[in-house]
């Protein structure tokens, strides 16, 4: 038998019921099967509103699926996925804690002695280039700096699985490419399993080992899977102009395009 997947979703379906009217249902994802091997970087792309975030919440254990199962390193997942770190799309830092205290939070929750937690947190802040900003509150940091802090906050716990929900979508293109390269460098060092959600195909191809394309919602499910055989280490800006990247982009876009249009039509009709 082969080694268990770091993360495996088997036939996961999530149906939401409207709180006001119980007959109103919405199936965000239907029969999704998705595996992430240890050390593999997998991206999920799809049109807006296709339930990508739902999938990630299921993997994190924040949301239990209506049907189907989730396994983490072969064990069925119950409650919060303690082996995963989650980088959210929206602002997730605690505004009443400084950057350093935010990075320390997870260690503190786990009962690491304060002195040690502080040393580790300071080390990670330095690694994301914020060594001098530890005593700033989130509102005193720029958007990119807050994302870096979030990254340090997630990685300081040394999770075996990293879940990322469009973490850089709010950043400008330059900051974004810098952050993408930083994440790739950090990932290359530790080789964790990564499940990366994005709507940006360029970003997905540039960073991943594998790209999974989701159909438009409702009842969204994977409709294509592409192995990205671009050599590593990659620079996200440079890799975009290589012929192989363009080839892959065309192949994936061919599948994705129709779904994007479908999703767009649905939004117009709604």
């Amino acid at each position: 038998m082969t080694a268990p997947h770091a993360l495996s979703l088997q036939d996961v379906t999530c149906t939401f019921i409207s709180r006001d009217d119980r007959s109103q249902r919405y199936t965000a994802v239907r029969d999704v099967t998705l595996h992430v091997a240890p050390g593999e970087f997998v991206s999920v792309v799809g049109p807006t509103g296709c339930g990508k975030s739902t999938l990630l919440n299921v993997a994190a254990g924040l949301l239990s699926p209506s049907s189907g199962s989730v396994h983490v390193f072969g064990e069925p997942l119950q409650g919060i996925n303690t082996r995963a770190g989650y980088m959210f799309q929206a602002e997730s830092l605690m505004p009443w804690r400084t950057a350093l205290q935010n990075v320390m939070a997870g260690l503190e929750f786990r009962g690491v002695p304060p002195a040690e937690a502080r040393a580790q947190a300071e080390d990670w802040l330095r690694r994301v280039g914020l060594g001098a900003f530890g005593d700033r509150y989130p509102h005193q940091l720029s958007g990119g700096m807050r994302k870096r802090t979030s990254l340090a906050q997630t990685l300081v716990l040394d999770p075996d699985i990293i879940l990322m929900d469009e973490p850089f979508s709010a950043l400008d293109i330059q900051t974004r490419q810098l952050m993408e390269n930083e994440v790739l460098a950090l990932w290359a060092e530790k080789r964790k399993a990564v499940l990366f959600i994005t709507h940006d195909l360029d970003e997905a191809i540039a960073m991943s080992d594998r790209v999974v394309v989701m159909s438009a919602g409702p009842g969204s499910h994977p409709i294509g899977e592409f192995t990205i055989d671009l050599p590593r280490p990659r620079d996200v800006a440079e890799v975009r102009v290589t012929p192989r990247f363009v080839e892959l982009h065309q192949a994936i876009w061919g599948v994705l395009r129709e779904e994007v249009l479908k999703g767009y039509q649905q939004q117009l009709a709604a």
Binding site: T82, G106, H139
Partner: protein, 275 residues
């Protein structure tokens, strides 16, 4: 000329003090017997009788604080009542607010009762409290608590309900237990709401204390005012009101100071410096 005295950030205080002085001068001119011919009342002394005279009011205050020095005991009693009502009411409101916000079922059951209690005019409870707790400090504290509790309670409840779901989910992913969530997420998030309510509730604790004293007591500033009213000593009544007002301002300032120290993580707009 106008350019130099028109209100701006620098002479703000001057304008504030000037306004106060103007009010007192107006009061003085209108009430001092013999200064201007009476035009509202039949004779010279009536304006002073109804509205008091600022100079006599100040004399009264001076006498209280420095000559007879007999107000400190009363002030202390009022302060004690205010602080006790404020402290106990805030802690109760905080505890109850956290509990109900985190257990929706209990909140659903108690909802009509809380609304009913809150809409009840609580000042009418003062005589009942006087019967239950006597004419001493306890009955005033009880009245103050009924006023403070609801303000803090509703704000904490709202504060906990409005915790950012993303921050909450993030803390859970970082491994926070239920207790740690309460301590590190719900409570800090609710404090910003609590502090905005504390300005109101410290004032209400004060109202509770003074109204309680006014309705039946043997000490406190409210009692002084009641005594003076009994003998139509309008100057002492005004002096009492002035002392209470200054007292309330000081309390509010203290709350503001604590707030600024504890809430420094909150963003403030426009922090740039004009050069």
């Amino acid at each position: 000329m106008w350019r130099h005295i028109q209100p701006n950030a620098r002479n703000l205080r001057v304008w504030q003090v000037g306004l106060l002085v103007a009010v007192f001068v107006f009061w003085h001119v209108m009430t001092k017997p013999g200064l201007i011919p009476p035009f509202l009342f039949d004779n010279d002394d009536q304006a002073a009788f109804f509205f008091g005279e600022p100079l006599k009011v100040f004399e009264r205050i001076w006498n209280w604080f420095f000559v007879a020095a007999d107000i400190y005991g009363h002030l202390w009693i009022t302060l004690l009542e205010t602080l006790l009502a404020f402290g106990i009411g805030t802690v109760m409101g905080l505890a109850m607010g956290l509990w109900l916000a985190l257990s929706p079922m209990a909140a659903a059951i108690l909802d009509p009762y809380i609304k009913a209690l809150n809409s009840m005019p609580r000042v009418i409870l003062a005589p009942i409290f006087a019967v239950w707790f006597g004419l001493g400090v306890a009955s005033k504290v009880a009245l103050g608590i009924t006023l403070v509790f609801f303000i803090v309670f509703f704000n904490v409840y709202q504060g906990v309900k409005e915790v950012s779901p993303v921050v909450l989910a993030n803390a859970r992913m970082l491994g926070a237990t239920q207790k740690q969530l309460l301590r590190h997420v719900y409570l800090p998030s609710a404090t910003s709401w609590v502090f905005s309510s504390l300005h109101t509730s410290v004032g209400l604790a004060f109202v509770g204390a003074v109204v309680g004293e006014y309705l039946g007591s043997s000490s406190g500033v409210g009692y002084l005012i009641l005594q003076a009213e009994g003998s139509f000593d309008i100057n002492t009544v005004m002096a009492g009101i002035l002392v209470l007002t200054i007292f309330a301002l000081v309390l509010d300032e203290v709350v503001g100071w604590v707030e600024r120290r504890l809430m420094k993580w909150q963003p403030r707009s426009g922090e740039t410096e004009k050069l």
